[in-house]
Symmetry: C4
Subunit: 228 residues, 4 copies
């Protein structure tokens, strides 16, 4: 079939392979809802007449938390956007891996709220627990991304045409880095100092923001001859 | 028209038949919202200074319920994804059947919450009522799936090109199994023991997860010569 | 351009005309959210040990209201689905009309809740007010549908290829019927008896369900030679 | 590649450029959710028997706020719809700019609620603070729109085929107007009179509604020879 030869559609000849359209639509829906539900946390502060400005200033920390959460889910969406560009079709296994990735995105607001609560209201023990909780959640969130790259590496027919096998393999470095460094941040936060663990977590979010399109800009980018 | 001959579009020559694009978009939106709204149930526990870790541990059961609900709705989405791949066009009747399927997906969080409430706070009578309530809801949810397969079997022109009539007919076994075994689980839960009924329900969720792509992997899979 | 001649894309040669893809995606998102948010109203009843079944039975009326609201929004989605199949492109004016249609869909849960409240807790005066409120809202909701058909009738180049001018004109009967009969139901509910008004409203919902695909099945269907 | 020459797809030859499909789907999801969540604010008023009509009348102001918010988010969606029609592909930078635009749309309900609160419950100092807060938020919301037009002007290969460079440059006037006049409205509201600032804000919303499709209707429209 001509369409299949052009590589724009899924490889129809394989049993159990289907288009990625609905996976994208479903995933985009989930991301859109998670990022928008954050706004429900923004509330007009209680105030007496003349005290609105003071009330708004007092809420500054929760507004900052809103901005950070919005940015973090945005980063995950960008990573997911780049991820699905690597495949030309999906399978039941990939759909399950994708559901696990979405699970990680959906729960983010929860460990974030735990973290915010511990640093605004808790003591040092609470902060250690919250940093470790966040780091465990973030480390586990990396696992399905690793599974995605590994599965794609083992099933080359699912790869989009212009994506080389070396590129897929090299991308596994990113979730492995996440697993190890988030885990390390959790250990540091629990046994050494919660602030040290928190810094590790923030560094990791920035890492994922910078590498959302893969390692293309760096030396490994040469392995991805997209533009031919 | 060439496009119709290639089977990529809907069969334009039939009155009342339209593309499935919007049905997919609408359904994906509903699934995405249901699966994401679950996260609203996750709340930072109330705790005194130093008690965050204990508080988080205490909520373990509700976290488990969140994971199970997320997985169950994921399973239904996967089933729905496979379902709509069987059709090349939709009609008003199929749209109503699809609305009934979505209705079943949307209400899941409710009988789940009733079940969780009965087993954490209720007595044996409550648990019997909750298991029966859940089982009745789940059995009724199977009905529109049966209607979908039966309708598609009676309207062969709506079938996607590569789907054979035998395949569609054989798939009716799945919702019929659901109707009978969920009903049986409800009866067992009500008259014998709520835990027995609960085990029946869990077995059925696993059954739907395993067969989400149809019976392709088993002996019946030979009836579905997709890859030709 | 070949694509334009085939009529599958928008008429690119006209200034201000664009594809309907995003209008559909946005509308489907709005419908999916409204229909799913209804489930937030379903709550596990408060009960003492052993009282769950009684509690669930007591909530029967609110479960019925949920089913009716789900069905009504489903009907509007089906009408909207059929509506956008009539056009091959959209303009700024059509986008505004579509926003007004969505506005009507989004607010439905509100007059419905007012109605349910008046009949479960209010007296005769409240019921009269609620029926009149609902009927006014429903009558106003018909206005943008009328505007849609009238606009489409005046801009024949926006019509999908297989849709005839007579068909578009004849469809105006549906929103005009809605405006008049909803208005009449409101007057009957206010001046005569709220139950009479309520019956009028229910009849109108069934009317919109039956005619969601247009008058195709009836004698007017001959004006729509789609499959011709 | 033929597809690339026809300009319907993204410029595949460029590293880091991808289709806009998912950006549109994600953005439409976010807009759909924001506009629908507004309805959660509509509540059946508390009333004693016979007092429903009075209760509904009393809530008139909050219903008006709902209509205005719905319209404003509709205006932003229309602007965004027209914005993405200017591009044929997206990049990581454009995705970040788009996230910033969505951020602005998502938070709108919050400064709106602050404004409504200040004018219904606060004193003159609160109203000054609320108007300034709203104006600062609105002015900052204009910034990513300016960044979008500037980026697109510097990267002509991302422009849709029928969009001329002059058109993109001229559109920068719109967000610059927003930045300056919203800022001015905030200053007027803070230092002169909150009502004067409020009028400035309302004028700006109407300005964005009227210019949502660009300056096409005016003399600058000649710079946008879309229909060839």
């Amino acid at each position: 079939m001509a369409a299949a030869e052009e590589g724009s559609g899924p490889p129809e000849g394989q049993v159990g392979v289907s288009e990625t359209d609905r996976v994208k639509a479903f995933s985009d829906g989930v991301f859109a809802i998670v990022i928008t539900l954050l706004v429900l946390e923004l509330r007009v502060p209680d105030y007496r007449e003349g005290g609105l400005l003071t009330g708004l200033r007092h809420e500054g920390a929760s507004y900052l938390a809103f901005v950070v959460s919005f940015g973090y889910i945005g980063v995950i969406w960008l990573n997911h956007h780049a991820l699905l560009r690597l495949v030309r079709g999906t399978t039941l296994a990939l759909n399950w891996i994708n559901l696990a990735i979405l699970f990680g995105a959906v729960i983010i607001p929860f460990p974030t709220a735990v973290l915010a609560s511990a640093f605004s209201e808790g003591d040092s023990a609470d902060q250690r627990a919250a940093v470790a909780f966040y780091a465990i959640a973030a480390a586990l969130m990396s696992a399905p991304w690793l599974a995605f790259f590994s599965y794609l590496h083992r099933h080359p027919t699912l790869r989009a045409r212009e994506v080389g096998p070396e590129y897929v393999r090299s991308q596994r470095v990113r979730p492995i880095t996440g697993l190890i460094l988030y885990g390390l941040s959790g250990l540091l936060g629990w046994f050494v100092d919660p602030v040290v663990g928190l810094i590790g977590i923030i560094v990791m979010i920035i890492y994922h923001a910078v590498t959302s399109e893969g390692f293309r800009a760096g030396p490994l980018g040469r392995l991805f001859p997209r533009g031919g």
